[in-house]
Symmetry: C2
Subunit: 207 residues, 2 copies
DNA sequence: CGACGTTTTGATTCCAATCAATGGGTGTGG
DNA sequence: CCACACCCATTGATTGGAATCAAAACGTCG
């Protein structure tokens, strides 16, 4: 049930904002980001996608892509023509289920990001690191040692902070002995502490 | 293709967080809000739903609702059993399309809310008012005269601000002659100005 | 009328953005 | 191989906008 596979070179786009919607995509190998250009020309990172994750779901509504999907490293992507998905999912219940869940999960993903609005910077970054850690772990990598494929600016853009703030918070985590950071190599030393920071609301209430 | 219709009394819940997912819902008449309880016990409004809008899409992924849907006024809601939707949409292409689009639109909705993260308070509120205005207009109501069915606190919660800030910004809009406000009755006097505020990024670049 | 919930307004605080400068890494060409 | 340039990251100083704290005005309903 898999369509063609295509390679996307680092820095080039799998699809761009405004492209007519024809297919959904699943990352096979590599690492992508999705981003949009705001009215003022600044770019806003909507998410990062790694192996097994789907792209393009937002394009169904208007039959046009609403963001650019850009490879952050040479990537291998599976193309699934949407009309084929439509017709096949009419016959194969499992596929229908899978598709609906993928969409629903995307709604949840955006929602949980939304939730961070209004949270302090350190909580957002803790959550960002934990999320990355989990996703990498689910793919067989170390839970504690991660290599960030994106710049501080891109992280900030994704979680709603400025790059300086990202840098400061990373430094703070390092000073507190929660992580070690060398450039883009992050080592999580104290997972529990990170989790506590990410859910700090709890304590502020227990007070 | 419509299931049963049920009435939800003002203040009571159509569904609650954790409820097993069985159906999607479409508002017939009335006005609902969806909200979740954060770990610290505070409540966070995820959105407001009016006639024609769908609820429950976020529950598909985990077969459980992730928010409470509460009627803000006596409402009339159409219940669509999900397994029936599934099987019917396998036969009726139009329904399948409709469902997919509804999900995709929900993804877009969350995304456009996300976009407001980092915007100044007045831009968010301008956007909020415009959004409400559009949706009411699409349902045959006046574009400029609206009655807010929710409190300042709920508005703030939905757009990521504190109630005092919401109140201040409303006062500011009124002082600038953009709107008149008496309690929850809002009259938009200068739609163009409101739109400019909502897209202020443009000007800050043109500078 | 009186009590409660909501809204407005004011004073102050605090966090992240901004402005600004320095340091570190990487890659290229002399 | 080193020097230079460029990009990215860190750190410091200052500013600004929303949150917070606090109090008063308004509305609604029993």
């Amino acid at each position: 049930m898999v369509g063609a596979r295509i390679k996307v070179k680092r820095g080039s786009a799998l699809f761009a904002t405004g492209d007519r919607f024809k297919s959904l995509y699943v990352v096979r190998t590599g690492f992508l980001k999705t981003e949009t250009t705001l009215e003022d020309g600044r770019r806003w990172v909507r998410g990062f996608q790694m192996a097994g994750e789907m792209l393009g779901l937002d394009a169904i509504a208007n039959e046009a892509h609403t963001c650019d999907a850009i490879a952050m490293e040479d990537s291998d992507v599976c193309v699934m023509p949407y009309d084929l998905l439509e017709s096949t999912s009419r016959r194969v219940v499992a596929l229908q289920r899978h598709l609906h869940r993928a969409m629903s999960r995307e709604i949840l993903r955006e929602g949980s990001l939304m939730q961070q609005t209004g949270m302090p910077a350190q909580e957002r970054l803790a959550a960002f690191l934990l999320n990355l850690s989990e996703r990498l772990h689910a793919r067989g990598f170390s839970r504690s040692e991660l290599v960030l494929r994106m710049s501080r600016e891109e992280i900030g853009s994704a979680v709603g902070l400025k790059l300086e703030t990202v840098s400061r918070m990373f430094s703070k985590f390092a000073a507190d002995g929660i992580v070690t950071i060398q450039q883009r190599h992050v080592n999580i030393l104290d997972m529990a502490a990170l989790r506590e920071i990410a859910n700090a609301k709890l304590r502020s209430c227990t007070h």
